[in-house]
Amino acid sequence: MAKIEILVVEDSPTMRQLIVFALKRLKDVNVTEASDGVDGLKKLSNKQFHLMIADINMPIMDGLKLVSLVRQDPKYNDMPIIIVTTEGADEDRKKGLSLGANAYLTKPVQTTQLISTVKELLKLP
């Protein structure tokens, strides 16, 4: 059975490790890490991913720019995107979702919430 490929784009190594640690509790998941938007785009061009998790506040290219660029590519139309960010205001949430993100989670993120969102978007049991 092919593994589920997930891309985590997050500049904070602590947060990235926390997300990866949480995702590895799911079965047959392979996680690729990227430290900013540009790195994320590079990793996306190398491999087909089933889901992407991105932060908003990142150096070089922020998460919102990354989400809008990814959504412009028809290849990634069906790939669910989860934004995990410190920006908890309603307008930020609306902006993130309007750019094409499927879910918007705010930090400090609950591991159970992250896992259930991933399962829901990937339709995992």
Binding site: S12, P13, M15, A22, T86, G88, T106, P108, T112
Partner: protein, 268 residues
Amino acid sequence: MSKNRAEEFLNTFKKTADFVKELLQENEKLRYQVANLQEELKSYKEKGVGVDAHAQCIAKIAQLEAEKNEILNKIREVEAENKSFAEKYVEVENENNNLANLYIASFQLHSTLNFKEVVQIIMEIVINLIGAEVFVLYLLDEKTNELSPIATEGIELNEVTNVKLGKGIIGKSAKTGENYFSEIIPIFENFNQESPIACIPLKIKEHTIGVIAIYKLFVQKSTFNELDYELFTLLAGHAATALFSAKLYTESERKLSTIQGFIELLTK
């Protein structure tokens, strides 16, 4: 005349005789039927059917009712047990997640000996795991007995001044080594250095080396939770050790390069 009467009597007698004969036949039939019914009743009695069977049926119903109640009670017990297991599962799951957070925070804090990186990791933990939007990391200068801000989030470093040990909430927290938490978290309007909502002294055993003062939480976070307090405990110890080790290492590196420079100068 008497002949007619005799004939009439004979006719009546004959009819009566026929009627009696019919009655006897009928009687015979009924006797036979009674005998059959008695036989049948006897057989039913032997099989336990009849009045006894009714009583038995009632007893059986009562027994089944009791069994049903017992099963229902058992189902209730199992359901209560399931609920308790589900609650325990959620509790363990949360505990697991909390431990994962603590492990990662601790792992990151001790992943480097670079002072700037350690400071950066402490900032990341306070932002991402605790959810603080405005906070200051102070380090204690033992020569001047003052807490100097070395890193800030949500405000500029130059907006924060040194704090005397023992003075104000931050100074007292550093002096006593005790955490401070504001009873109510007020709405943040302007930065007031003297009014943090939480102060966490960074300690190596009983020796305070710095303080994290939190002034504002993110909009999505209204209060501190259980995990936050555990993270504060972890930060109090591990962040202090990591900062102290990194500082010593950086100083020793600097001294080493100076000594090497001298040696090179002398051996030339």
